[in-house]
Symmetry: none
Subunit: 252 residues, 2 copies
Protein backbone atom coordinates (compact mmCIF):
# COMPACT_ATOMS: atom_id res chain seq x y z
CA UNK A 1 0.00 0.00 0.00
CA UNK A 2 1.14 3.51 -0.72
CA UNK A 3 2.84 5.35 2.12
CA UNK A 4 0.35 8.20 2.01
CA UNK A 5 -2.49 5.75 2.48
CA UNK A 6 -0.75 4.02 5.30
CA UNK A 7 -0.30 7.34 7.02
CA UNK A 8 -3.86 8.44 6.47
CA UNK A 9 -5.04 5.13 7.80
CA UNK A 10 -2.88 5.37 10.87
CA UNK A 11 -3.94 8.90 11.56
CA UNK A 12 -7.57 8.03 11.16
CA UNK A 13 -7.29 5.20 13.59
CA UNK A 14 -5.41 7.36 16.01
CA UNK A 15 -8.28 9.82 15.89
CA UNK A 16 -10.96 7.18 16.18
CA UNK A 17 -9.14 5.61 19.08
CA UNK A 18 -9.32 8.85 20.95
CA UNK A 19 -5.67 9.74 20.62
CA UNK A 20 -6.66 13.05 19.12
CA UNK A 21 -9.75 14.85 20.34
CA UNK A 22 -12.20 16.71 18.11
CA UNK A 23 -11.20 20.31 17.47
CA UNK A 24 -7.68 19.44 18.45
CA UNK A 25 -4.93 20.70 16.19
CA UNK A 26 -2.90 18.19 14.25
CA UNK A 27 0.83 18.81 14.00
CA UNK A 28 1.75 20.88 10.99
CA UNK A 29 2.51 19.22 7.70
CA UNK A 30 6.17 20.03 7.98
CA UNK A 31 6.37 18.58 11.47
CA UNK A 32 4.59 15.40 10.49
CA UNK A 33 6.82 15.03 7.47
CA UNK A 34 9.93 15.37 9.60
CA UNK A 35 8.63 13.11 12.30
CA UNK A 36 7.56 10.34 9.97
CA UNK A 37 10.52 10.93 7.71
CA UNK A 38 8.57 11.29 4.51
CA UNK A 39 8.20 14.18 2.16
CA UNK A 40 5.63 16.84 2.72
CA UNK A 41 3.77 15.79 -0.43
CA UNK A 42 3.00 12.43 1.07
CA UNK A 43 1.66 14.03 4.22
CA UNK A 44 -0.47 16.40 2.19
CA UNK A 45 -1.94 13.55 0.19
CA UNK A 46 -2.71 11.63 3.37
CA UNK A 47 -4.38 14.66 4.90
CA UNK A 48 -6.43 15.23 1.76
CA UNK A 49 -7.71 11.70 2.02
CA UNK A 50 -8.82 12.29 5.58
CA UNK A 51 -10.33 15.56 4.50
CA UNK A 52 -12.28 13.85 1.77
CA UNK A 53 -13.50 11.43 4.36
CA UNK A 54 -14.53 14.28 6.63
CA UNK A 55 -12.24 13.25 9.44
CA UNK A 56 -10.28 16.48 9.51
CA UNK A 57 -10.60 20.05 8.33
CA UNK A 58 -7.74 22.26 7.25
CA UNK A 59 -7.62 26.02 7.42
CA UNK A 60 -5.15 28.03 5.42
CA UNK A 61 -2.58 29.70 7.61
CA UNK A 62 -3.78 27.97 10.74
CA UNK A 63 -3.44 24.24 10.44
CA UNK A 64 -5.42 21.02 10.31
CA UNK A 65 -7.97 20.10 12.94
CA UNK A 66 -9.89 17.00 13.86
CA UNK A 67 -13.50 17.36 12.77
CA UNK A 68 -16.09 17.75 15.48
CA UNK A 69 -18.64 15.36 14.15
CA UNK A 70 -16.23 12.54 13.68
CA UNK A 71 -17.53 10.01 16.13
CA UNK A 72 -20.05 8.82 13.60
CA UNK A 73 -21.21 6.12 15.93
CA UNK A 74 -20.22 6.91 19.43
CA UNK A 75 -18.02 4.04 20.28
CA UNK A 76 -14.84 4.90 22.02
CA UNK A 77 -15.63 8.56 22.26
CA UNK A 78 -16.03 9.94 25.72
CA UNK A 79 -12.51 8.99 26.72
CA UNK A 80 -11.49 12.18 25.14
CA UNK A 81 -8.00 13.27 24.46
CA UNK A 82 -5.39 10.81 25.37
CA UNK A 83 -2.69 12.71 23.64
CA UNK A 84 -2.74 15.62 26.02
CA UNK A 85 -1.42 13.27 28.61
CA UNK A 86 1.88 13.20 26.87
CA UNK A 87 2.44 16.91 26.96
CA UNK A 88 4.12 17.68 30.18
CA UNK A 89 3.93 14.11 31.39
CA UNK A 90 6.92 12.20 30.11
CA UNK A 91 5.98 9.40 32.41
CA UNK A 92 3.11 8.56 30.14
CA UNK A 93 5.58 7.37 27.56
CA UNK A 94 6.84 4.81 30.00
CA UNK A 95 3.31 3.87 30.95
CA UNK A 96 2.81 3.13 27.31
CA UNK A 97 5.94 1.05 27.12
CA UNK A 98 4.81 -0.77 30.22
CA UNK A 99 1.69 -1.87 28.42
CA UNK A 100 3.60 -2.70 25.29
CA UNK A 101 5.94 -4.87 27.27
CA UNK A 102 3.02 -6.99 28.29
CA UNK A 103 1.44 -7.17 24.88
CA UNK A 104 4.60 -7.75 22.88
CA UNK A 105 5.27 -10.55 25.31
CA UNK A 106 1.90 -12.04 24.67
CA UNK A 107 2.32 -11.65 20.93
CA UNK A 108 5.65 -13.45 21.01
CA UNK A 109 4.18 -16.17 23.14
CA UNK A 110 1.25 -16.72 20.82
CA UNK A 111 3.45 -16.49 17.76
CA UNK A 112 5.64 -19.25 19.10
CA UNK A 113 2.55 -21.38 19.50
CA UNK A 114 0.58 -20.51 16.43
CA UNK A 115 2.95 -19.45 13.68
CA UNK A 116 2.28 -21.27 10.45
CA UNK A 117 5.09 -22.09 8.11
CA UNK A 118 4.20 -19.02 6.13
CA UNK A 119 4.47 -16.92 9.27
CA UNK A 120 7.81 -18.47 10.08
CA UNK A 121 8.99 -17.67 6.62
CA UNK A 122 7.89 -14.07 6.93
CA UNK A 123 9.49 -13.70 10.32
CA UNK A 124 12.71 -15.22 9.07
CA UNK A 125 12.78 -12.90 6.11
CA UNK A 126 12.22 -9.90 8.33
CA UNK A 127 14.89 -11.11 10.70
CA UNK A 128 17.43 -11.53 7.92
CA UNK A 129 16.68 -8.04 6.70
CA UNK A 130 17.12 -6.81 10.22
CA UNK A 131 20.52 -8.40 10.67
CA UNK A 132 21.80 -7.19 7.35
CA UNK A 133 20.91 -3.60 7.92
CA UNK A 134 23.19 -0.99 9.26
CA UNK A 135 22.06 0.68 12.44
CA UNK A 136 21.28 4.00 10.88
CA UNK A 137 18.58 2.86 8.54
CA UNK A 138 17.55 0.34 11.11
CA UNK A 139 14.11 1.58 11.95
CA UNK A 140 12.14 -0.02 9.19
CA UNK A 141 13.53 -3.55 9.45
CA UNK A 142 13.16 -3.44 13.20
CA UNK A 143 9.56 -2.45 12.86
CA UNK A 144 9.00 -5.10 10.23
CA UNK A 145 10.43 -7.80 12.42
CA UNK A 146 8.23 -7.04 15.39
CA UNK A 147 5.27 -6.55 13.15
CA UNK A 148 5.75 -9.98 11.62
CA UNK A 149 5.79 -11.51 15.06
CA UNK A 150 2.66 -9.74 16.17
CA UNK A 151 0.85 -10.83 13.06
CA UNK A 152 1.91 -14.41 13.61
CA UNK A 153 -0.05 -14.33 16.84
CA UNK A 154 -3.16 -14.58 14.69
CA UNK A 155 -5.00 -12.33 17.07
CA UNK A 156 -6.40 -9.34 15.18
CA UNK A 157 -7.29 -7.51 18.35
CA UNK A 158 -3.76 -7.76 19.56
CA UNK A 159 -2.49 -6.50 16.23
CA UNK A 160 -4.85 -3.57 16.38
CA UNK A 161 -4.06 -2.55 19.92
CA UNK A 162 -0.33 -2.75 19.44
CA UNK A 163 -0.56 -0.69 16.28
CA UNK A 164 -2.48 1.97 18.14
CA UNK A 165 0.15 2.11 20.82
CA UNK A 166 2.93 2.34 18.25
CA UNK A 167 1.13 5.17 16.53
CA UNK A 168 0.88 7.05 19.75
CA UNK A 169 4.57 6.67 20.29
CA UNK A 170 5.35 7.89 16.81
CA UNK A 171 3.48 11.06 17.51
CA UNK A 172 5.52 11.92 20.52
CA UNK A 173 8.95 10.47 20.19
CA UNK A 174 11.60 10.76 17.58
CA UNK A 175 12.98 7.76 18.90
CA UNK A 176 14.50 4.75 20.05
CA UNK A 177 16.30 2.48 17.71
CA UNK A 178 18.17 5.33 16.19
CA UNK A 179 18.75 6.78 19.58
CA UNK A 180 19.96 3.57 21.02
CA UNK A 181 21.57 1.77 18.19
CA UNK A 182 24.52 4.04 17.55
CA UNK A 183 25.87 3.17 20.95
CA UNK A 184 27.92 0.15 20.10
CA UNK A 185 27.40 -1.71 23.32
CA UNK A 186 23.67 -1.24 23.27
CA UNK A 187 23.43 -2.23 19.68
CA UNK A 188 25.11 -5.48 20.51
CA UNK A 189 22.64 -6.21 23.26
CA UNK A 190 19.69 -5.41 21.07
CA UNK A 191 20.96 -7.57 18.26
CA UNK A 192 21.41 -10.39 20.71
CA UNK A 193 17.91 -9.94 22.08
CA UNK A 194 16.48 -10.04 18.60
CA UNK A 195 18.35 -13.19 17.78
CA UNK A 196 17.24 -14.95 20.95
CA UNK A 197 13.67 -13.90 20.42
CA UNK A 198 13.80 -15.11 16.86
CA UNK A 199 15.15 -18.47 17.88
CA UNK A 200 12.57 -18.92 20.61
CA UNK A 201 9.71 -18.24 18.25
CA UNK A 202 10.95 -20.30 15.37
CA UNK A 203 11.71 -23.27 17.56
CA UNK A 204 8.34 -22.92 19.27
CA UNK A 205 9.19 -22.07 22.85
CA UNK A 206 6.29 -19.83 23.92
CA UNK A 207 7.40 -19.26 27.49
CA UNK A 208 10.88 -18.08 26.64
CA UNK A 209 9.65 -16.11 23.66
CA UNK A 210 7.37 -14.23 25.97
CA UNK A 211 10.07 -13.60 28.52
CA UNK A 212 12.52 -12.46 25.88
CA UNK A 213 10.10 -10.10 24.19
CA UNK A 214 9.16 -8.55 27.50
CA UNK A 215 12.77 -8.18 28.47
CA UNK A 216 13.47 -6.57 25.13
CA UNK A 217 10.82 -3.91 25.56
CA UNK A 218 11.82 -3.34 29.14
CA UNK A 219 15.41 -2.95 28.06
CA UNK A 220 14.51 -0.41 25.41
CA UNK A 221 12.35 1.45 27.86
CA UNK A 222 15.04 1.53 30.48
CA UNK A 223 17.62 2.65 27.96
CA UNK A 224 15.45 5.51 26.86
CA UNK A 225 14.93 6.49 30.44
CA UNK A 226 18.66 6.47 31.06
CA UNK A 227 19.34 8.45 27.93
CA UNK A 228 16.80 11.02 28.89
CA UNK A 229 18.22 11.33 32.36
CA UNK A 230 21.76 11.65 31.23
CA UNK A 231 20.73 14.71 29.40
CA UNK A 232 20.44 14.94 25.77
CA UNK A 233 19.95 12.82 22.80
CA UNK A 234 16.51 11.46 23.36
CA UNK A 235 14.39 13.77 21.38
CA UNK A 236 10.99 14.21 22.82
CA UNK A 237 8.78 16.26 20.63
CA UNK A 238 5.85 17.45 22.65
CA UNK A 239 3.59 17.90 19.76
CA UNK A 240 5.17 21.31 19.58
CA UNK A 241 8.24 22.39 17.78
CA UNK A 242 10.64 20.69 15.53
CA UNK A 243 14.17 19.79 16.37
CA UNK A 244 15.65 20.05 12.95
CA UNK A 245 17.55 16.80 13.06
CA UNK A 246 18.34 14.79 10.02
CA UNK A 247 17.59 11.11 9.92
CA UNK A 248 16.58 9.47 13.05
CA UNK A 249 13.65 7.30 13.63
CA UNK A 250 10.99 5.08 14.74
CA UNK A 251 10.08 2.91 17.53
CA UNK A 252 11.32 0.16 19.71
Amino acid sequence: MAISQEISYRLERLILDGGLAPEQKIPSERQLAARLRVSRSVIREALHELQGRGVIETRHGKGSFVSTMVPGSGDLREQGPLMHLFEGHPRTLYDLLEVREQLEGQAACLAAQRATSLDRHRITKAFRALEETDPLSNARPDHGFHQAIVEASHNPILVHVLNSLKNMMLMTVQASVANLNPRAEMRKKIVLQHRQLYDAIISGRPASAQKLAMAHVRFVSKSMRDLELEGSTLIRVPVEQEAAVSHQNAQD
Copy 2:
Protein backbone atom coordinates in the same frame (compact mmCIF):
# COMPACT_ATOMS: atom_id res chain seq x y z
CA MET B 1 -11.41 27.62 -1.78
CA ALA B 2 -8.31 25.70 -2.68
CA ILE B 3 -7.88 24.73 -6.32
CA SER B 4 -7.47 21.08 -5.45
CA GLN B 5 -10.84 21.07 -3.72
CA GLU B 6 -12.52 22.80 -6.59
CA ILE B 7 -11.19 20.19 -8.92
CA SER B 8 -12.20 17.34 -6.67
CA TYR B 9 -15.74 18.72 -6.48
CA ARG B 10 -15.96 19.16 -10.22
CA LEU B 11 -14.74 15.64 -10.80
CA GLU B 12 -17.07 14.21 -8.21
CA ARG B 13 -20.06 15.94 -9.71
CA LEU B 14 -18.99 14.77 -13.14
CA ILE B 15 -18.92 11.23 -11.88
CA LEU B 16 -22.16 11.36 -9.93
CA ASP B 17 -23.90 12.94 -12.87
CA GLY B 18 -22.91 9.99 -14.93
CA GLY B 19 -20.32 11.80 -17.00
CA LEU B 20 -17.91 9.09 -16.07
CA ALA B 21 -19.12 5.55 -15.76
CA PRO B 22 -18.07 3.14 -13.02
CA GLU B 23 -14.90 1.25 -13.86
CA GLN B 24 -14.10 3.89 -16.44
CA LYS B 25 -10.57 5.16 -16.52
CA ILE B 26 -9.89 8.76 -15.57
CA PRO B 27 -7.30 10.66 -17.61
CA SER B 28 -3.81 10.32 -16.19
CA GLU B 29 -2.59 12.81 -13.63
CA ARG B 30 -0.21 14.38 -16.08
CA GLN B 31 -2.92 14.80 -18.67
CA LEU B 32 -5.33 16.34 -16.19
CA ALA B 33 -2.64 18.67 -14.96
CA ALA B 34 -1.86 19.85 -18.46
CA ARG B 35 -5.49 20.18 -19.43
CA LEU B 36 -6.46 22.18 -16.34
CA ARG B 37 -3.19 24.08 -16.34
CA VAL B 38 -2.29 23.28 -12.78
CA SER B 39 0.57 21.36 -11.29
CA ARG B 40 0.43 17.63 -10.91
CA SER B 41 0.48 17.97 -7.11
CA VAL B 42 -2.87 19.72 -7.15
CA ILE B 43 -4.35 16.98 -9.26
CA ARG B 44 -2.95 14.33 -6.96
CA GLU B 45 -4.40 16.02 -3.91
CA ALA B 46 -7.79 16.28 -5.57
CA LEU B 47 -7.70 12.62 -6.51
CA HIS B 48 -6.73 11.64 -2.99
CA GLU B 49 -9.75 13.48 -1.68
CA LEU B 50 -11.99 11.53 -4.02
CA GLN B 51 -10.20 8.37 -3.03
CA GLY B 52 -10.80 9.10 0.63
CA ARG B 53 -14.43 9.61 -0.22
CA GLY B 54 -14.49 6.29 -2.02
CA VAL B 55 -15.41 7.79 -5.35
CA ILE B 56 -12.39 6.56 -7.23
CA GLU B 57 -9.69 3.94 -6.90
CA THR B 58 -6.16 4.28 -8.16
CA ARG B 59 -3.89 1.46 -9.19
CA HIS B 60 -0.16 1.88 -9.45
CA GLY B 61 1.06 1.70 -13.02
CA LYS B 62 -2.44 1.59 -14.45
CA GLY B 63 -4.36 4.69 -13.59
CA SER B 64 -7.35 5.95 -11.64
CA PHE B 65 -10.79 4.46 -12.07
CA VAL B 66 -14.29 5.38 -11.01
CA SER B 67 -15.42 3.15 -8.19
CA THR B 68 -18.13 0.64 -8.94
CA MET B 69 -20.34 1.09 -5.93
CA VAL B 70 -20.46 4.83 -6.09
CA PRO B 71 -24.04 5.57 -6.93
CA GLY B 72 -26.63 7.01 -4.65
CA SER B 73 -25.50 7.46 -1.12
CA GLY B 74 -25.02 3.98 0.20
CA ASP B 75 -22.27 4.94 2.51
CA LEU B 76 -22.97 4.57 6.16
CA ARG B 77 -19.58 5.18 7.45
CA GLU B 78 -17.51 2.11 7.70
CA GLN B 79 -16.46 3.30 11.05
CA GLY B 80 -14.23 0.76 12.61
CA PRO B 81 -12.18 -1.31 10.28
CA LEU B 82 -12.10 -3.53 13.30
CA MET B 83 -15.78 -3.90 13.84
CA HIS B 84 -16.48 -6.05 10.83
CA LEU B 85 -14.20 -8.61 12.27
CA PHE B 86 -16.80 -9.44 14.82
CA GLU B 87 -19.49 -10.00 12.30
CA GLY B 88 -19.17 -13.53 11.20
CA HIS B 89 -16.06 -14.18 13.24
CA PRO B 90 -17.05 -15.20 16.75
CA ARG B 91 -13.50 -16.10 17.44
CA THR B 92 -12.64 -12.43 17.54
CA LEU B 93 -14.45 -12.17 20.84
CA TYR B 94 -12.10 -14.68 22.34
CA ASP B 95 -9.15 -12.93 20.78
CA LEU B 96 -10.28 -9.88 22.63
CA LEU B 97 -10.61 -11.74 25.89
CA GLU B 98 -7.17 -13.16 25.32
CA VAL B 99 -5.77 -9.66 25.26
CA ARG B 100 -7.87 -8.60 28.20
CA GLU B 101 -6.56 -11.52 30.20
CA GLN B 102 -3.09 -10.17 29.80
CA LEU B 103 -3.97 -6.57 30.55
CA GLU B 104 -6.27 -7.20 33.48
CA GLY B 105 -3.46 -9.27 34.87
CA GLN B 106 -1.05 -6.44 34.47
CA ALA B 107 -3.50 -3.99 35.98
CA ALA B 108 -3.97 -6.19 39.04
CA CYS B 109 -0.24 -6.61 39.37
CA LEU B 110 0.41 -2.89 39.20
CA ALA B 111 -2.51 -2.12 41.48
CA ALA B 112 -1.08 -4.43 44.12
CA GLN B 113 2.16 -2.50 43.89
CA ARG B 114 0.98 1.03 43.49
CA ALA B 115 -2.40 1.40 45.11
CA THR B 116 -2.55 4.36 47.45
CA SER B 117 -4.69 4.24 50.53
CA LEU B 118 -7.35 6.11 48.61
CA ASP B 119 -7.24 3.47 45.89
CA ARG B 120 -7.53 0.72 48.47
CA HIS B 121 -10.48 2.45 49.96
CA ARG B 122 -12.18 2.72 46.61
CA ILE B 123 -11.47 -0.87 45.76
CA THR B 124 -12.76 -2.04 49.10
CA LYS B 125 -15.94 -0.06 48.67
CA ALA B 126 -16.49 -1.50 45.24
CA PHE B 127 -15.79 -4.98 46.54
CA ARG B 128 -18.31 -4.62 49.36
CA ALA B 129 -20.91 -3.46 46.90
CA LEU B 130 -20.10 -6.42 44.75
CA GLU B 131 -20.55 -8.94 47.53
CA GLU B 132 -23.76 -7.45 48.74
CA THR B 133 -25.43 -7.49 45.40
CA ASP B 134 -27.67 -10.18 44.15
CA PRO B 135 -26.51 -11.88 41.00
CA LEU B 136 -29.17 -10.45 38.79
CA SER B 137 -28.28 -6.82 39.07
CA ASN B 138 -24.69 -7.84 39.36
CA ALA B 139 -23.31 -6.20 36.29
CA ARG B 140 -22.68 -2.74 37.61
CA PRO B 141 -20.83 -3.62 40.81
CA ASP B 142 -18.75 -6.12 38.92
CA HIS B 143 -17.73 -3.50 36.45
CA GLY B 144 -17.05 -1.01 39.22
CA PHE B 145 -14.80 -3.43 41.03
CA HIS B 146 -12.62 -4.18 38.05
CA GLN B 147 -12.59 -0.54 37.06
CA ALA B 148 -11.34 0.46 40.48
CA ILE B 149 -8.52 -2.02 40.18
CA VAL B 150 -7.49 -0.83 36.77
CA GLU B 151 -7.44 2.76 37.91
CA ALA B 152 -5.30 1.85 40.87
CA SER B 153 -2.62 0.78 38.42
CA HIS B 154 -1.96 4.47 37.87
CA ASN B 155 -1.26 3.83 34.24
CA PRO B 156 -3.52 6.01 32.08
CA ILE B 157 -2.64 4.14 28.93
CA LEU B 158 -3.68 0.88 30.48
CA VAL B 159 -6.94 2.42 31.63
CA HIS B 160 -7.65 3.74 28.19
CA VAL B 161 -6.85 0.54 26.34
CA LEU B 162 -8.89 -1.61 28.67
CA ASN B 163 -11.83 0.75 28.38
CA SER B 164 -11.65 0.55 24.61
CA LEU B 165 -11.64 -3.21 24.75
CA LYS B 166 -14.57 -3.27 27.13
CA ASN B 167 -16.51 -0.92 24.90
CA MET B 168 -15.81 -3.16 21.97
CA MET B 169 -17.20 -6.08 23.87
CA LEU B 170 -20.26 -4.13 24.83
CA MET B 171 -20.91 -3.52 21.18
CA THR B 172 -21.03 -7.18 20.39
CA VAL B 173 -22.07 -9.07 23.43
CA GLN B 174 -24.77 -8.54 25.96
CA ALA B 175 -22.87 -10.52 28.19
CA SER B 176 -21.12 -12.41 30.59
CA VAL B 177 -21.91 -11.77 34.18
CA ALA B 178 -25.57 -11.92 33.50
CA ASN B 179 -25.06 -15.00 31.43
CA LEU B 180 -22.86 -16.77 33.84
CA ASN B 181 -23.98 -15.74 37.26
CA PRO B 182 -27.34 -17.43 37.36
CA ARG B 183 -25.66 -20.78 37.33
CA ALA B 184 -25.15 -21.38 40.97
CA GLU B 185 -21.93 -23.29 40.73
CA MET B 186 -20.33 -20.76 38.47
CA ARG B 187 -21.44 -17.91 40.60
CA LYS B 188 -19.69 -19.46 43.54
CA LYS B 189 -16.48 -19.77 41.63
CA ILE B 190 -16.63 -16.22 40.43
CA VAL B 191 -17.31 -14.86 43.87
CA LEU B 192 -14.37 -16.81 45.17
CA GLN B 193 -12.12 -15.47 42.43
CA HIS B 194 -13.15 -11.95 43.23
CA ARG B 195 -12.46 -12.41 46.89
CA GLN B 196 -9.02 -13.88 46.26
CA LEU B 197 -8.15 -11.14 43.81
CA TYR B 198 -9.28 -8.52 46.28
CA ASP B 199 -7.17 -9.99 49.06
CA ALA B 200 -4.10 -10.23 46.88
CA ILE B 201 -4.31 -6.61 45.86
CA ILE B 202 -5.09 -5.19 49.27
CA SER B 203 -2.34 -7.13 50.92
CA GLY B 204 0.08 -6.16 48.18
CA ARG B 205 0.96 -9.42 46.50
CA PRO B 206 1.53 -8.39 42.85
CA ALA B 207 2.43 -11.79 41.51
CA SER B 208 -0.60 -13.59 42.82
CA ALA B 209 -2.88 -10.68 42.00
CA GLN B 210 -1.72 -10.96 38.42
CA LYS B 211 -2.22 -14.69 38.31
CA LEU B 212 -5.64 -14.48 39.86
CA ALA B 213 -6.86 -11.74 37.55
CA MET B 214 -5.65 -13.64 34.52
CA ALA B 215 -7.25 -16.82 35.72
CA HIS B 216 -10.46 -14.94 36.31
CA VAL B 217 -10.65 -13.59 32.78
CA ARG B 218 -9.65 -16.93 31.35
CA PHE B 219 -12.35 -18.59 33.39
CA VAL B 220 -14.99 -16.20 32.16
CA SER B 221 -13.80 -16.64 28.61
CA LYS B 222 -13.89 -20.37 28.86
CA SER B 223 -17.31 -20.31 30.43
CA MET B 224 -18.67 -18.21 27.65
CA ARG B 225 -17.17 -20.53 25.11
CA ASP B 226 -18.78 -23.49 26.81
CA LEU B 227 -22.08 -21.73 27.01
CA GLU B 228 -21.95 -20.84 23.37
CA LEU B 229 -21.10 -24.36 22.40
CA GLU B 230 -23.76 -25.96 24.48
CA GLY B 231 -26.27 -24.06 22.57
CA SER B 232 -27.96 -20.96 23.48
CA THR B 233 -27.93 -18.40 26.11
CA LEU B 234 -25.00 -16.33 25.06
CA ILE B 235 -26.55 -13.39 23.36
CA ARG B 236 -24.50 -11.98 20.58
CA VAL B 237 -25.60 -8.64 19.32
CA PRO B 238 -24.30 -7.81 15.87
CA VAL B 239 -22.95 -4.33 16.03
CA GLU B 240 -25.75 -2.58 14.27
CA GLN B 241 -28.44 -0.78 16.05
CA GLU B 242 -28.27 1.90 18.59
CA ALA B 243 -28.47 -0.47 21.51
CA ALA B 244 -25.93 1.95 22.81
CA VAL B 245 -27.72 1.58 26.05
CA SER B 246 -26.63 4.28 28.32
CA HIS B 247 -23.85 2.83 30.30
CA GLN B 248 -25.00 -0.15 31.98
CA ASN B 249 -23.51 -3.36 32.71
CA ALA B 250 -21.67 -6.19 31.63
CA GLN B 251 -18.48 -7.91 31.14
CA ASP B 252 -16.78 -10.31 33.31
